[in-house]
Symmetry: C2
Subunit: 755 residues, 2 copies
């Protein structure tokens, strides 16, 4: 960081001034960051030949990337484990408490109890519901109402704590964080978004928010938490802390680690980071991301929060293959997922816009309390909404084994059956299944409605789990329907070929999984990473075709209604300057249509190489708020020679006024290589060539805008100068590009500003 | 394609002339291809509003990408299946023949025979070795020698056929093809490299080459075959056949399909294409690549060439976990893999260079015959080299079950043991194992030496399988050593903690797999895709840490000796103009140091906007062989206004001379917007603004070369003009950049030319 005249004097042997810091809510210049890193690297390499100590330092520097990855993996894995354990405990706390040790969750409580058998592991004397503990009774209306009341009360308490902590300590800790992380990775600066406070508060409030029973998940916020870890460890190494470009490489990898711990899917995490989150994903970070993702996954596994040594959140194992005819319901689930995605995005964005623009946004605490209250009151009576959403999904994904005791597996057993445990033929559904179907249908409607209002509130809230829950419920219902149809109508032509009586043809759990993938795909528009995450959950290529069919249908259906996924929609809603890599710009406009100054605007503010005075420069800086100024040969010829950053200019003049004798307001600023011999009466000139960027990026006025957009995206430019046969005509900044793209899509161009 | 005056007249409403074809061994201009595709897309979109038929056509166009992917998947899957079947049959043909049907391979022959039991499935009366068939005896020295002789004879016949077919019909069908595909995907044109003949001949000769028993694999060539399929199907759709950029998107996906069928690893294939082969991998092709890879994998599975309904080449299932202490041998295997990679690359490149520069290269048929002869003579006596390499790897990967009858599983059984089949404790090795160890050690040396001489001969030859074989042999040897140590020295401190007597601690098969991954990594320097391919083979995250530890060690060790993998080395050896995405350019040179003309060169050949005559242009075209010429305002001011392609210029002048009256040698060529009113006596002017590219890419002379290299890579430029304050100074082409990079790395710059 340039902080004194000493540095200014050294500039002669540096191609670029080392002024690194960007202002808040500004865009970084990737090319410049990259060339600063190369300079740093060159310096270290040349120094490393000087002494042994420098060689060691250079090796440490080369290894720092791996060290950062290791630390990110360890910390984010640990945090994910702690969050899982805490959520488990607090979710159960809403229902009751463990007498042997209050810090045990229901499951842990019953583990430690020796009196339980496998069959009713959920019932053990140590675990008491609140009503039982207080009144001594566990049956009847009274205890039920008391339990109900306390459940709602705990939920309100948790969510109130969560929203208050967020409001007071870290306003950036709310939401899923993925839209902002996408924006940050594309080169935008939001100070404090990945700070230590955000990390701490987000971790704590995430536990509270999930435990409160709201319809939200921890997967998106875990990506934010992992990125905060990444940012934290960046500050340990100047290689990353002082270079915004390198920092973003680390953050990409951290996002991969976040998804890796969220689902236990390291490969899926890397692909998620590549496909969904990252902007610049140099191949060399692929390997590092993978490393971070693996370390995180194994750290989580050694903490073993689910108590089953499984890496994955939902481990499933199916015993029967799928049949071609089943593709029809799978594709229907894909259509459902696409429609759900569209509905959710439209409704959620409309509601969030209302929150932004009306009185509603002024009472975030009240909103959270209200939504939690409604959620808790409606959720308690239905066993499928009362429990935590991940447990619900886990049950829906599971195939009904012989030992399964849940209501969903209440099939009429054939007493003559003597098959192995894992190959049970299709059976007619018992009353429990029909009962469960009704409850699931109600749960589906409830989840659909409440999630729309929940996502976007001022608490940490992820979308993966609620989306998957919607899909899993719908999928399970369809699965049971198909199963019963196949059982009762073996002779129908569609079943005849593959479903003999007494065979196990249909796996309703697989339908739930396909439905979950379809709904998640509809909302996020993930494709490959979605399939890979699901593949890592099932661990077999067997079921990849159903998943792909559903995912691709869902994406096509949803894309037909609108190209943007939920994260892009939220980026737009918040007006972040995000230049999507995937948007195709197909209009025929030229650079000359986009550049400023426009036809009737005042001319471009430029500096001349040898006729501007210090006072002129200072006036220009005061009167305008541009980030930099082009330097031309003279105002007549307008031939471009370079570009000077506002920040560098301000600092250089301030320094010169303080340290350099004879520099006064009427001193002439020289950007030329040689300064002519001036008469002694003239004030001393100010030489500023060293802060001049001699290689500004230029395009001609005839360049098609699609090419300009491409250049901005691929090179990560901040601005670009427009010339015609060497004469400077104007300037295009990233915001001009975004504004133009919005205009071309008939959107309000002024919405494309951070606000 | 511009082929008449009619088109020339239409140019006014086209921003770029539609001259698409590049010459052979030239580099494409990605930006231009992209903007041509956008134009095409715009035209179709605007037309689609006109009529229903046009709408259908536009929908067909939008779907053509998926159709191409489907076709690629189907064809490459089918070809892979056919190749597998044919290789199986012909490999066995070297040993004997099936009496019931000569087109059955050994395994198929014994399947159809009902007399076999599970135990000796390899011995069935229908299958007869040649000696048995001819002489009636199967034992003794005579039949052995006869079998030996016929084995060598068949091998010689197969390889002679392969090399002759390649030489006569398709010289491009030799080698693995991956270096060339990398170069083509980076934007180079090699006509015929992906043509129909190459496809046909490569498929046939690949079968012959693999069957001949040479130390080569079919995996690399399968990528080439899949890319040929991709190219074939591109020609069905003008969207892809007329646009070199779009075509390369399809080829990227085809490469993924190739790896997918080679290993049965669709995700690994996509990552391989992304990490290793592709240059521009837009995210939208990720999904399509995945689709193509999956279709290919499932087509292969439905052909079921291995007869086991498995997708993967080497299916393994281990029953015991690994222990931390085992990381030491795994890392040692990684070191071995890195050393093998270095040795192989150095030796192979040296041998290939010798082949190129000496007499040796003139007798490719003789070379192939000689190497095949040596291979066959040395391979026959050793059972581990006699069989096909994939079978060898498969056996080495496998854990010794209770039913395994191979020599490698000849352990001394504990008679008191009554454990389940898949949980056999470590046992002392029997004489068979020690015998096998010796034979494996000999096989290892043989494979190492012969592979160096085999890869690069004028037949299709892949490197994956031989590399994996070397690693698998080494790994298995180490694995057995560790296993026996653990058995005999339970009390050693390193074993004490995890290996109780009577437990199954060490899985030698896992060591073989880790060794294979390490050796493959050392040679190709693949990282993530390697681990993912291996992960798909085992299907469990359990063993990903050993694989990663070995892969990363191997890469680090190999990188310490030289950054380039085998493919990059061959690209360099052949002098392809390939700008590696991963090479960091860290030198401090500027654009001015690289641009032409150099200090003492004649000035740059330029055209002026309004003072060049037709004759001048024709002379310039005749005297130079540049691809294009900058157009400036005048030779005095040298202000750049555009760039004109040589090809366009030639065509336009030829057309004008033929079709346009009054255009003679002394006509003035105008690149300006308006042509001044000329006196009637002057010859008619020739207006050529329509072929002028008004947005040539420019950088200033002070631009650091690292930025220029970055721009060339990311935007896929062909050339870039260098200016200083609007004045044209020179030009930098892709070859100049490559030459400069070679110079900076102290290599011979002239080697960086296609030769």
């Amino acid at each position: 960081i340039m902080n004194g005249a000493g540095n200014l004097m050294d500039f002669l042997d540096e191609p670029f001034p080392d002024v690194s810091t960007y202002e808040d809510f500004h865009t970084i210049d990737w090319l410049r960051e990259k060339s600063r890193d190369t300079d740093r690297h060159r310096k270290i390499t040349s120094k490393s030949r000087e002494s042994f100590w420098e060689l060691v330092k250079s090796l440490l520097d080369a290894w720092s990337g791996w060290v950062v990855m290791l630390l990110i993996g360890l910390l984010s894995g640990t945090l994910a484990g702690v969050i899982d354990l805490a959520v488990d405990w607090m979710t159960d706390l809403k229902e009751g408490v463990c007498l042997s040790a209050f810090w045990y969750s229901h499951e842990q409580c019953c583990w430690t109890s020796n009196e339980t058998t496998f069959d009713d592991r959920d019932k053990c004397p140590q675990w008491q519901k609140w009503a039982e503990l207080m009144t001594g009774h566990s049956e009847g209306a009274g205890p039920y109402v008391l339990n109900y009341f306390l459940y709602v009360l705990w939920a309100l308490l948790f969510s109130f704590l969560a929203v208050s902590l967020v409001r007071v300590f870290a306003p950036y800790a709310c939401g899923s964080g993925i839209p902002e992380i996408k924006t940050i990775l594309s080169g935008f600066i939001i100070r404090g978004y990945l700070g230590k406070w955000t990390l701490l508060i987000k971790t704590v409030t995430l536990v509270l928010a999930v435990s409160s029973g709201l319809s939200l998940g921890k997967e998106g916020p875990l990506v934010h938490v992992a990125c905060c870890c990444g940012n934290l460890f960046c500050s340990l190494f100047s290689k990353y802390s002082k270079n915004e470009g390198k920092r973003r490489e680390v953050l990409s990898a951290a996002a991969a680690a976040g998804v890796s711990v969220a689902f236990g899917a390291p490969i899926g995490g890397v692909l998620f980071s590549l496909e969904e989150v990252s902007y610049y994903f140099p191949l060399k970070t692929l390997w590092r991301s993978f490393f971070a993702a693996l370390v995180a996954a194994f750290t989580l596994r050694s903490i073993n929060p689910f108590g089953n040594s499984r890496l994955v959140l939902f481990y499933v194992e199916y015993h029967t293959p799928w049949y071609m005819a089943e593709l029809v319901p799978f594709i229907l689930l894909g259509v459902f997922g696409g429609l759900w995605g569209t509905l959710f995005i439209r409704a959620n964005i409309a509601w969030c816009r209302r929150r932004k623009t009306t009185q509603l946004g002024k009472y975030p605490v009240l909103e959270v309390i209200a939504v939690t209250g409604i959620t808790a009151v409606l959720a308690f009576p239905n066993p499928y909404t009362r429990r935590s959403t991940s447990e619900l999904i886990s049950e829906l994904f599971n195939d009904c084994g012989a030992l399964e005791s849940s209501q969903l597996c209440d099939y009429v057993n054939n007493p003559n059956m003597s098959r192995p445990v894992d190959d049970i033929p299709d059976r007619p559904a018992g009353p429990g299944v029909y009962n469960a179907l009704w409850q699931l249908a109600l749960a589906l409607i409830f989840k659909i409605v409440i999630t729309i209002f929940t996502f976007g509130m001022k608490i940490p809230s992820g979308l993966f789990i609620p989306s998957m829950a919607v899909g899993a419920i719908a999928g399970r219902i369809v699965g049971i329907a198909v199963e019963q149809m196949a059982y009762h109508h073996h002779d129908w032509i569609i079943f005849k070929n593959w479903c003999r009586p007494g065979a196990d043809c249909v796996t309703p759990g697989l339908y739930a999984m396909v439905g979950a993938a379809a709904c998640l795909g509809g909302v996020t528009r993930m494709t490959v990473s979605l399939v890979v995450i699901m593949f890592e959950l099932t661990g077999g290529l067997e079921y990849i075709v159903p998943l792909m069919a559903a995912a691709v249908t869902s994406k096509w259906v949803a894309d037909a209604f609108g190209k943007e996924g939920i994260y892009e929609s939220h980026i737009q809603l918040n007006g972040y300057p995000y230049l999507d890599v995937r948007d195709e710009f197909t209009h025929r406009t030229l650079a000359t249509d986009v550049m400023r100054p426009r036809r009737n605007d005042p001319p471009l503010s430029v500096l001349t190489q040898d006729s501007t005075t210090v006072e002129d420069v200072e006036t220009l800086i005061k009167d305008t708020d541009y980030n930099g100024f082009p330097v031309v040969v003279s105002t007549e010829s307008e031939r471009l020679i370079g570009f000077v950053q506002r920040r560098d200019l301000t600092l250089a003049i301030k320094n010169a006024r303080q340290k350099q004798d004879g520099v006064v307001s009427s001193s002439v600023v020289y950007f030329t290589e040689d300064v002519p011999q001036l008469p002694a009466t003239n004030p001393q000139p100010l030489k500023l060539r060293r802060i001049l960027n001699l290689s500004p990026f230029t395009v001609t006025d005839h360049t098609p805008m699609e090419t300009v957009v491409d250049i901005f995206r691929k090179l990560g430019l901040r601005q670009c100068l427009v010339t015609r046969s060497g004469r400077l005509l104007g300037i295009i900044t990233k915001k001009d590009v975004l504004r133009h793209m919005a205009q071309m899509m008939n959107q309000d161009p002024e919405s494309i500003m951070f606000n």
